[in-house]
């Protein structure tokens, strides 16, 4: 070829080479990472950067996660100084738990406990094998929630007295069932027409519920389809966070409870929190990366939540760290000096689920299917009418909540109670 052509070609070649080098740089990680992790659970994984990083260089927490193992929140008293179960202990406890959960237990037919005991049936709940730790709480070292302040103790006491007042005329107290602990049988209480002493902010069936259905607000957050709270690290009705990241934000969709899922965005920013006048159910999250860990500060909670006693002053510091391709460690410190005498920390491990199976169910959602709420309100109004016409028992002597009887798959007490609680 001519010298001119040769010159053009060689210049062109150099230009192409330089442009090629520059363009390749940001995605250099991609080729390396396609080889990261060959276990089935990483099939369909994000096109990760090198060794667990996203293409833009942040630690990669993405995927569908759940806790493959159950761990009690607080250390059961009979394991007082043990941080870990032995393998034999775990196997034995699993055997006991499985037998109770899987067994077909009926209470006496025609009792309110038998009606409510539908949750014994394994089709409603999902239980898992026990994990190694005796408690999710790692600090304080005794694995128990620190004592609450006198103010919170008083609030709980007031709520308990109100609960008992609404139960005292029912069979629960007449037969001295565990739901009546601390109270005793008596006539219908005049407190039945009072507003509860504090906002009923519980989602847990059997905890803090009141025996009344005058208003939707009398029922639990779960029955109102608003049970999703922060922090959340699992329960027998299911818990699957789906994490998706971009450079400025981490999205976590919590598929939790029976269709009570919710969407959380953690902005990666050093902007200050929302003004203190703005309160939200799930607080206000601010995230930053510290090495391989996503640290999230959460404040601005509404007074309508109640996390183990803490309401609007709840302050969380979360630490999310990917330990390996299948494991995500979630540690969260709970701090609220108006509720607990000192902060406490839990640690939970999540395991990666199959991206392809995509078992994170944003729907069906509880609210759109909530036939239960109007039904129980209508039922209560029907009972009142029947009683007013002399055709039915006094609804105030019946139990609709806090009645006990196999909540969560275990009995209140005795041989079929949760082995961990005995």
């Amino acid at each position: 070829m001519s010298r001119r052509t040769f010159q053009v070609i060689s210049v062109g070649a150099v230009v192409l080479a330089v442009v090629g080098l520059l363009k390749l740089a940001p995605v250099a990680g991609q080729a390396a990472a396609d080889k990261s992790g060959t276990t089935p659970s990483t099939e369909g994984a994000t096109k990760a950067g090198p060794a667990g990083k996203t293409p833009w260089g942040d630690p990669d927490l993405q995927g569908i996660w759940t806790n493959d193992f159950e761990t009690p929140l607080q250390r059961p008293s009979r394991y007082a100084n043990k941080e870990f179960f032995t393998d034999e202990e775990r196997a034995e406890l699993d055997k006991q738990r499985a037998a109770i959960i899987g067994g077909d237990r009926r209470q006496s037919r025609g009792s309110e406990q038998d009606v409510g005991g539908a949750y014994n049936a394994a089709i409603f709940l999902s239980h898992k094998h026990l994990g190694k730790r005796t408690s999710l709480i790692v600090d304080p070292p005794d694995g128990r929630i620190p004592p609450v302040t006198p103010e919170v103790a008083k609030r709980r006491q007031e709520l308990r007295e109100f609960q008992l007042a609404l139960l005292q005329a029912s069979d629960v107290c007449k037969n001295q069932r565990p739901g009546c602990e601390g109270g005793k049988y008596g006539p219908v209480s005049p407190r039945r027409s009072e507003t509860p002493p504090s906002y009923l902010a519980t989602g847990a069936a059997g905890g803090g519920v009141i025996n009344r259905s005058d208003n939707p607000e009398d029922r639990t957050l779960g029955e109102r389809c608003m049970a999703a709270i922060l922090p959340d690290f699992g329960g027998a009705a299911g818990f699957f966070p789906q994490i998706i990241q971009s450079p400025g934000a981490v999205s976590i969709f919590y598929d939790t409870g029976q269709g009570q899922g919710w969407q959380r965005i953690i902005p990666i920013t050093n902007r200050p929190h929302l003004p203190s006048s703005v309160r939200q159910w799930w607080g206000d999250s601010r995230g930053r990366w510290e090495g391989n860990t996503l640290v999230v500060d959460v404040t601005n909670f509404t007074a309508k939540t109640d996390y183990q006693g803490s309401r609007e002053n709840l302050h969380l510091v979360e630490r999310w760290t990917r330990l390996d391709s299948n494991t995500l460690e979630y540690a969260v410190t709970m701090e609220d000096s108006t509720t607990w005498t000192k902060p406490w920390t839990i640690k939970q491990e999540f395991n990666r689920q199959s991206d392809k199976a995509n078992r994170v169910y944003k729907e069906p959602r509880c609210h759109e299917g909530n036939y239960g709420m109007p039904a129980l309100l209508a039922g209560a109004r029907a009972e009142e009418r029947a009683f007013a016409q002399g055709k039915g028992p006094n609804p105030a002597t019946m139990c609709t909540a806090g009645c006990g009887g196999f909540a969560g798959g275990f009995a209140d007490e005795g041989e079929e109670a949760n082995p961990l609680a005995r």
Binding site: I123, S126, G208, A401
Partner: protein, 150 residues
Amino acid sequence: MQIKLAMAVAGLVLVGAAGSLSAHHAFAAEFDANKPVKMKGTVTKMEWTNPHVWLHMDVKQPDGTVQNWAFEAGTPNVLFRRGFTKQSLMPGTEVIVDGYQAKDGSRRANGRDLTFPDGRKLFMGSSGTGAPYELTPDGQGQAPKTPPAK
């Protein structure tokens, strides 16, 4: 008594081993302990809604008329994770329900026990492809071999 009360109060907050969220609602508020029902019918429609699946069934009455009833069954998310889908229980299937009728007297009941005519429980077991972490009665972590209710 003081200690017991404190424990009871603490216990109220601690329901559920690992965490915060638990079952949806108290059946005792919606269904009547004094109105037990037991009936056999044919599925006409399935509603896979949270918090509870609804099984609509045609139930033949002793006098030959047919009534349509709705029974609350399991929880969709839990069932989906075990591999059940909307194909798993199709119209035309015969089911026996043992439960309690709604307090407002409508033709609804909670499905306290749900079985096929051969005695197999509805929605127990799984397709084997989901929920490998589940604790099962044999304690081994294997999904029971019973096929999904079809």
